[in-house]
């Protein structure tokens, strides 16, 4: 029994991690007033880049870094369109969601002789498990805590981003720009700089999220690897009321649903895994209806800012 709970908790953490990375990205971007619906595309490119660099160099940390950079590159495009050229942020995000998977599969075919699936990374070259071997194998603590380093990093980043947003000068500026850009502008804050910073950072995080799938949860990239996680992260962010810690809890809920699906898949319990998989989405809708619908996000989220415009 205890082992089963341990297994479910462990899988929950593992599957929540990519979502937490991406949702944090969404939190940063939206707090600065830029909707980032392109998280999905950024995650996909990050996942491909992580798997590719990981395969060729054998260095998981370099792979994670490159995945972040790849996501950041797509985010830069999003920022150019939506910050500098006042584009409709949702449309620009949709474009990113075409470009991300497009570029990812294109590169995969180039690097892996026309295959859309990258070659697997050797087990010892995946992201390490820092607590591996500390606890007896398959004991409760081993199942729960013996996780890939990305899991710990993601939870650490939740704290870091919370601290940044609410306890530092830059965080205050990001929130000011997202809430009332005109007032922030009057006080001499460079709106464009803050938004570029936030959007690119959000892409880097989404890229990490992709890599957390491709070099930790599994060990390669394939076309369906990132299928919807970016959108789920977006929902988690809204679910969590645009706050890092809130988004984290929402991601854990989605991760738990995944954990249960995988657990039940290995048992004889006759609950449809399809219905179970549906559950988190229904819960999100119910929660949106009952609580979150009324509390709104950053006031200026979604509005392009034009200097001098009334």
């Amino acid at each position: 029994m205890l082992d089963n709970i341990g297994f479910i908790l462990g899988t929950t953490l593992m599957y929540a991690t990519p979502l937490i990375f991406a949702a944090l990205g969404g939190v940063i971007s939206e707090n600065s007033g830029v909707v980032n619906i392109g998280l999905e595309g950024m995650m996909t490119l990050g996942a491909l880049m992580g798997a590719t660099v990981g395969y060729f160099t054998g260095n998981p940390w370099l792979a994670l870094l490159c995945a972040g950079l790849a996501g950041g590159f797509l985010a830069l495009l999003h920022a150019i369109a939506s910050v500098t050229f006042g584009a409709d942020q949702i449309v620009s995000g949709i474009a990113i969601n075409f470009l991300g998977p497009g570029i990812a599969l294109f590169l995969s075919r180039l690097f892996f002789e026309g295959a859309t699936m990258t070659k697997s990374i050797n087990l010892e070259n995946k992201i390490p498990r820092p607590l591996g071997g500390v606890f007896p194998q398959n004991s409760f603590f081993d199942l729960v805590l013996n996780q890939y380093a990305t899991v710990y990093i993601s939870f650490l980043l939740v704290f870091v981003i919370w601290y940044m947003l609410y306890k530092t000068k830059i965080g205050l500026r990001i929130r000011a720009v997202g809430e009332h850009p005109k007032a922030a502008d009057t006080l001499g804050i460079n709106i464009y700089k803050i938004r570029y910073f936030s959007v690119i950072l959000s892409g880097i995080f989404a890229g990490f999220g992709g890599a957390a799938m491709s070099i930790a949860v599994v060990s390669n990239f394939r076309p369906t690897l990132i299928s919807g996680q970016g959108f789920i992260a977006l929902a988690a962010m809204i679910f969590g009321k645009w706050k890092p810690q809130g988004a984290m809890w929402a991601c854990l809920l989605f991760g738990a649903a995944q954990g249960f699906v995988i657990f039940l898949g290995g048992t004889a319990i006759a609950i449809s895994s399809q219905l179970l998989a549906m559950l988190p989405y229904i819960i999100t809708l119910v929660i949106l209806i009952s609580f979150v619908g009324k509390s709104v996000g950053p006031a200026a989220s979604g509005d392009p800012y034009e200097k001098g415009e009334r």
């Binding site: 619906i37 495009l77 369109a81 939506s82 050229f85 006042g86 584009a87 409709d88 949702i90 449309v91 620009s92 949709i94 474009a95 990113i96 969601n97 075409f98 470009l99 991300g100 998977p101 497009g102 570029i103 599969l105 294109f106 075919r109 180039l110 026309g114 369906t224 299928s227 919807g228 959108f231 789920i232 977006l234 929902a235 809204i238 449809s272 399809q274 219905l275 998989a277 549906m278 989405y281 229904i282 999100t284 809708l285 949106l288 209806i289 619908g293 009324k294």
Partner: protein, 375 residues
């Protein structure tokens, strides 16, 4: 005088159509650059694609068959756009339409002719209700339709998988449902072309034979009729006027006595029905069944691109749907012919949408080009 001429030129240059054309050009250009960097000849690649789209009558038909669902999901997104709503849920509405069409097409037995109508009406009603949920949540609870429809997409996907797995519907040893009855299909002369007489006749007429090798069906005609219906509703009816008013300024519309909440629900329902029609016709014309989905198929997301490239106009969607269908069908041919990654198509589409998102940039570009011309 010269000034006036310039201003007219500028006015033409700042139109929506201009932005779309420049964006399409830039998209193709970026695709060429990407191919070049990857070491493939852009001219040869695009040549292969063009040949793969227009080379044979069969190819053109396939392009149309590929384009048909995209036109309709495009119409769905465009319709909601006009009311100021962003229908990301075309994906899920498509799934519901396809699923209900298959259910009614398999479990209900009706004579030829009536069956098709019943299947179609059932599917678009179900998908309309599905789309209406998002509209209702927005109107009643203020839930943003983008988030609601994203959730509904996944719920639809798992619902689809759940229903297919049910005993009596799942075809044994397959990942799909049973096929719909022939009375529920809309293929053109589908039965005849496999009869002895049909085979002999087609052998004598090689062009028609190549055409009838494709799942040629009535879908495209339905799509064009629906485009006309959308145009008519939006531009020639009171309902359309109200929906558009809500889209351009919902406060003014409310002040003018239009029921904004009702408009949102109606608009999302119609958008849902349109995407559902795409799913239904895809089943009735091409797939004849629904399969277990591991991931989203992308008809709805592609529809967003189609709507944007078509400037959210009904007939714009027909053309951009054909463009997208052509790229989707012709694109993979560069893979088989020269080993060039076919995903260049996604990059081209993404780039087009990307530039359409920022008309400001296009205007800047056009004015820069013009300034050079003057010098």
């Amino acid at each position: 005088m010269k000034n006036k001429k310039n201003s007219i030129k500028e006015m033409l240059g700042s139109g929506n159509f201009m932005i779309t054309l420049v964006s399409i050009f830039l998209g193709i250009l970026v695709g060429a650059i990407v191919l070049k960097i990857a070491g493939y000849s852009p001219l040869e690649s695009y040549g292969v694609m063009l040949k793969g789209i227009f080379g044979k009558p069969k190819y053109i038909l396939y392009t149309i068959i590929y384009a048909t669902p995209l036109i309709m999901t495009g119409l769905s997104v465009a319709f909601a756009f006009k009311t100021g709503l962003f229908n990301i849920g075309a994906e899920g509405q498509f799934i519901i339409g396809a699923l209900v069409a298959t259910l009614v097409g398999y479990f209900v037995k009706l004579p030829m002719g009536i069956h098709v109508v019943v299947v179609f009406v059932a599917a678009i009603t179900a998908a309309g209700l599905w789309g209406g949920i998002a509209g209702y949540l927005k109107a009643k609870f203020g839930v943003h339709e983008v988030i609601a429809t994203i959730m509904l997409n996944w719920i639809a996907l798992y619902l689809n998988n759940y229903v297919i797995m049910l005993e009596g519907f799942k075809r044994p040893n397959s990942e799909a449902s049973y096929k719909i009855w022939d009375t529920a299909t809309i293929g053109i002369l589908e039965k005849w072309k496999y009869t002895a007489h049909g085979r002999v006749w087609l052998k004598v007429h090689p062009i028609l034979q190549s055409i009838f090798k494709t799942p040629v069906n009535l879908g495209i005609i339905c799509a064009i009729i629906l485009a006309f219906v959308v145009w008519f509703i939006l531009n020639r009816t009171t309902l359309g006027y109200e929906l558009r008013s809500v889209g351009s300024n919902k406060y003014a519309a409310e002040y003018g006595g239009i029921n904004v909440k009702k408009s949102m629900i109606v608009s999302m329902s119609i958008a849902g029905a349109l995407a559902g029609a795409a799913g239904a016709l895809q089943v009735m014309g091409v797939s004849k069944q629904v399969s277990i989905l591991a991931a989203m198929e992308g008809y709805g997301f592609d529809g967003i691109a189609v709507a944007l490239i078509g400037s959210n106009g009904a007939f714009g969607c027909v053309f951009s749907g054909l463009l997208f269908g052509a790229l989707k069908y012709g694109g993979p041919k560069i893979q088989s012919a020269m080993g060039a990654p076919s995903e260049v198509v996604s990059i081209v589409m993404g780039t087009i949408v990307f530039f359409i998102a920022m008309p400001k940039f296009i205007r800047l570009l056009v004015s820069l080009v013009k300034r050079k011309e003057v010098k």
